[in-house]
């Protein structure tokens, strides 16, 4: 156990092991406030490699791992405890479907009293009966095997989260709802320490998209030949669980932030109380990016796209857009910067698509690059084809260098490109197109590439807007103020370790 930290940052599936937007954000957040100490809780699954992709900043005191599919076995239940097991599993089912603060409170209390874990709640005969009952309610006539594994993972994840060894901290900061939010809520209720939930994208929306394309969830046989009842959907069980996690997180958190206004309506719809909602945008090192000189050398019109090669970035739409663009701007060059190791199958399909559309001479996959600034300075426009985003750092950084943006209408991209109510900077810094529309993206890119004056004007708008609103110093001050507001002296009863 390390010494107490000012902030306990709870990250899911990323920092410090996986490179990505939220991970980079978490790393930058800690580095931006060196006077604060941080303890990181990293949530992952056992199959995920825990090799650090980030060098921890000096003010990060320690990392605690929470492995969602590894939970305490707990004690073996006595025969007389069947009713207690049934009661706890009933609570777990509620937590996975329609949970709220009181559900989590009662669960934590029951788990503390009984000392139950996997042995009693999943591996016992009573636990099996409870799973069968849940199956009849949640996935009647669905494949039992699929339900079994889903139920087992979700229950184990709840048990793992509710057995998180909590570090001493003055504020817990969950970087999403979902699993991070539940761990944060657990910490809030057990350690009585304030909880800040920061949402970059809307967790449930992102999971909905992921589940929609998840090939391990298929429903071709669901319901068998039973036509009397509506087919149940396994993915709805997962979605309900994630929505429930969000509701719990919103109910328990002291402050909930998001990065842009549009997200707040989703948060309200998922049960977030108005009085807890705040906006803090992403911040970037504007000075560094704005100082990058534009490369004036003669070159092919260049489009750059920065992002992981994964389905949610919809790289395939970008590839098709470039294939269409080369008819409109014949000597165009497109550069894709981003790691391909997260979903190698998808990355391979993207490379195959490049060949199929005959764009091998136009599109270059650069993978992970050491100096992205070099490519930004020598590009003419940044493209973003994602089907879901929050406030993409790549867009903000490119904008700070004075690059115009063509982006799908996701997350806060429209706010960044077209401005927002009260924005001190007028004008558009690029073009917003609808997602999954390669033709619209190709036309928007061609418009910007063909018109030097427009490109220059848009670049300037972007540079000024990012400098005024998304400046790292401003955002850091916002977080520091919020931390200071939430930080409370550690109660004496919790100074020597948290139960």
């Amino acid at each position: 156990m390390s010494a107490g930290a000012d902030v306990c940052l709870i990250a899911e599936g990323g920092y410090p092991y996986v490179v990505g937007g939220v991970s980079s954000w978490a790393d930058a957040l800690m580095r931006a406030s060196p006077q604060l100490s941080f303890h990181v809780i990293a949530i992952s699954v056992s199959s995920q490699a825990r090799r650090r992709s980030f060098v921890l900043p000096a003010n990060a005191v320690d990392v605690t791992d929470v492995i969602l599919d590894v939970c305490p076995r707990g004690r073996t239940p006595a025969h007389s405890e069947a009713d207690k097991i049934k009661q706890i599993l009933g609570l777990l089912e509620i937590a996975l479907t329609s949970g709220d603060r009181s559900t989590l409170e009662e669960l934590i209390e029951q788990m503390r009293i009984t000392g139950f874990g996997q042995a009693a709640l999943l591996d016992s005969k009573e636990g099996w009966h409870a799973m069968e009952r849940a199956y009849e309610r949640l996935l009647p006539n669905g494949p039992l095997l699929d339900f079994f594994w889903s139920w087992r993972f979700l229950v184990r994840s709840l048990l793992a989260m509710m057995s998180t060894p909590l570090p001493q901290a003055r504020v817990f900061h969950a970087v999403a709802t979902g699993f991070s939010g539940v761990v944060g809520s657990y910490a809030r209720l057990v350690a009585k320490t304030p909880l800040l939930v920061t949402e970059h994208g809307i967790y449930t929306n992102e999971r909905r998209i992921e589940l929609a394309v998840a090939d391990w969830l298929f429903d071709s046989e669901v319901g068998g030949f039973d036509v009397a009842t509506a087919p149940a959907e396994l993915r709805s069980i997962w979605l309900n669980a994630f929505q429930s996690f969000s509701r719990i997180s919103y109910a328990v958190a002291d402050v909930i932030t998001t990065q842009y206004r549009a997200n707040q309506s989703f948060q309200r719809a998922d049960g977030a109380p108005d009085d807890k909602l705040r906006i803090i945008p992403n911040g970037i090192d504007f000075t560094k990016f704005a100082a990058v000189p534009r490369d004036a050398a003669q070159r092919r019109p260049t489009v750059v796209m920065i992002g992981r090669i994964v389905p949610i970035k919809d790289i395939r739409t970008f590839i098709i857009a470039v294939a269409l663009l080369k008819d409109l701007v014949p000597n165009v060059s497109a550069i894709l910067i981003g790691p391909e190791d997260e979903d190698p199958e998808y990355a391979a399909s993207c490379r195959q698509l490049v060949q199929q559309v005959g764009a091998e001479s136009v599109i270059d996959f650069l993978g992970r690059v050491p100096d992205v600034l070099k490519y930004l300075s020598s590009a003419d426009v940044l493209a973003l084809s994602s089907i879901s985003e929050a406030q993409p750092m790549a867009v903000l950084e490119a904008a700070a260098t004075g690059l115009p943006i063509v982006s799908t209408d996701v997350g806060s991209c429209r706010e960044i490109i077209e401005g927002f109510e009260g924005d001190p900077v007028d004008g558009c810094g690029g073009i917003v197109v609808e997602p999954c529309n390669p033709k619209a993206m190709a036309e928007a890119l061609a418009t910007i590439l063909h018109d030097d004056a427009l490109r220059s004007q848009m670049g300037e708008v972007m540079r000024r807007r990012v400098g005024s609103y998304y400046h790292k110093n401003r955002v850091t001050r916002l977080y520091e103020t919020l931390y200071a507001e939430l930080m409370a002296p550690i109660p004496a009863s919790h100074r020597c370790g948290i139960p």
């Binding site: 999943l122 591996d123 005969k125 099996w128 069968e132 199956y135 009849e136 006539n141 669905g142 494949p143 039992l144 095997l145 699929d146 079994f148 046989e221 319901g223 068998g224 039973d226």
Partner: protein, 459 residues
């Protein structure tokens, strides 16, 4: 037994008389090969050397073989319960490189224990001369080796090898028996051992041919044995349960007993009755393995296949109901069959009393033994169902129950004299059957739980 079940099933599906007969023989030899061979040896050599009459050397030979059979079964059963499961799992998963190592370990452990127990017994406790003692030790090794090889052959479905091995052994035994002109203990033992040696040679050669003779150590073996500790314990309890009443009786009634070679003590009136009663169960045991367990195995396979094909709970419940119906109807059918066999044995015993080595004074024990056989064999069917579902602890409970009750009740009834000989065994068998049947019924209702949780290798 899964792999042997598949073989038996395939043999019966041929639709030919030879296929069905082969299946029965294969099943019988897999379950009780060395035992059947021993019976053939005792009958064949007895008839050849003494012409059916009594002679002392044959009595010595019988006593030695009874002791060796008891010793070999008790010591090899824990080993075969483990090695059989190990070999089946390895063959199923295609990782056979360590199988020969396990056979070598089994033989090594058995040889070590033989050196420790059997060698001093025959050399220093009995009054046998050195040649007789050595041949007796050799005989114990041969019987044990045979028991130890059989599970490996079951795992690779080598039914032809099993039939050929015991066929060749029996044939050579008869040839050797016929050529014996001097019915001395040494020569009878030598003939018997030679027959067993030929059988074992074929069995071992088949194992080596399939798995090779390279010893590849499995560092996980100890861990695996530790994880499935119930199996060797069940093996020991099963074998001890079979012999405990006899051991008690040998030492409880010395006045009616037979002592040969100074220390080999038996009670022929009890042993013969029990021996023939247990032997009479083999046809029904063969029926169990040929028809009942193969169908049970097929239903369990269907259950797992449908589960993997993403069946609904309702569909899986339907299969579980079919399994339950099959087990119940089979148990009642087999139980009835056992009693019919028992009845036939009682009637036949009046005609073939001398040939069976029985006397009128033994008939009371014989009738009780036959009733005990019906209960005990049915209890062992329950044991087999539970092991098939890999429910090792409930299975262990059945054989432990029989072992404890058989020993305790046999001792408790001793003061009531010969009138109640065999009743301890029968009461123990009855209680074990009732207990075993209730366990099977209980566990059948938990098949989903066992398939998904207890026996799920992914957990």
């Amino acid at each position: 037994m899964t792999s042997s079940n598949t073989t038996i099933e395939a043999m019966t599906r041929r639709g030919t008389l030879s296929g069905v007969l082969g299946a029965y023989l294969y099943a019988a030899f897999l379950v009780a090969g060395p035992w059947i061979f021993t019976v053939l040896g005792l009958l064949g050599l007895g008839a050849a050397t003494c012409g059916g009459g009594s002679c002392f050397d044959l009595t010595v030979f019988r006593s030695i073989v009874i002791y060796n059979s008891m010793y070999a079964l008790i010591v090899t059963s824990p080993l075969t319960f483990i090695s059989g499961r190990y070999a089946s799992e390895r063959v199923y998963s295609g990782r056979e490189e360590n199988v020969f190592y396990v056979l070598v370990i089994s033989l090594g452990v058995f040889a070590f224990l033989t050196l420790l127990i059997v060698v001093p017994f025959y050399l220093y406790v009995t009054t046998l001369d050195q040649t007789e003692a050595m041949l007796s030790i050799y005989n114990a090794m041969m019987i044990g080796c045979s028991w130890l090889c059989i599970p490996f052959l079951g795992a690779i479905r080598a039914y032809s090898a099993v039939l050929v091995a015991f066929g060749m052994g029996a044939f050579s035994l008869l040839v050797f028996g016929k050529s014996l002109h001097d019915p001395h203990t040494t020569s009878i033992l030598l003939a018997f051992n030679c027959g067993f040696a030929i059988t074992n040679l074929v069995l071992l050669a088949t194992v080596v041919r399939r798995f090779g003779a390279k010893i590849t150590v499995d560092p996980e073996l100890k861990k695996r044995v530790g994880k499935k500790w119930e199996l060797p314990l069940a093996g020991a309890a099963y074998a001890l349960g079979l012999w405990i009443d006899k051991i008690i009786m040998w030492h409880a009634d010395p006045s009616n007993g037979l002592v040969v070679a100074g220390a080999i003590q038996t009670l022929p009136s009890y042993d013969s009755a029990m021996f023939w009663a247990q032997l009479s169960s083999i046809p029904i045991i063969a029926v169990f393995f040929v028809h009942v367990e193969t169908r049970f195995s097929a239903l369990i396979r269907a259950y797992h296949a449908r589960m993997q094909q993403r069946a609904t709970l309702r569909e899986l419940n339907e299969i579980v109901r079919n399994i339950g119906t099959h087990v119940l109807s089979s148990m009642f059918g087999l139980f009835a069959g056992l009693f019919i066999v028992a009845g036939m044995m009682i009637m036949l015993s009046f005609v073939f009393m001398t040939e069976l080595g029985l006397r009128p004074s033994y008939m009371g024990i014989f009738r009780v033994s036959l009733a005990a056989m019906a209960f005990y064999t049915s209890a062992m069917f329950c044991f087999s169902f539970l092991l098939h579902l890999d429910l090792r602890r409930p299975a262990l409970l059945i054989v432990l129950t029989f072992l404890v009750l058989n020993g305790a009740i046999t001792v408790a009834l001793l003061p009531f004299g010969p009138d109640l000989y065999g009743y301890g065994n029968m009461i123990a068998a009855t209680v074990s059957l009732l207990f075993g049947f209730s366990l099977v019924l209980r566990e059948l209702s938990w098949i989903h739980y066992h398939a998904f949780i207890t026996n799920n290798p992914s957990l």
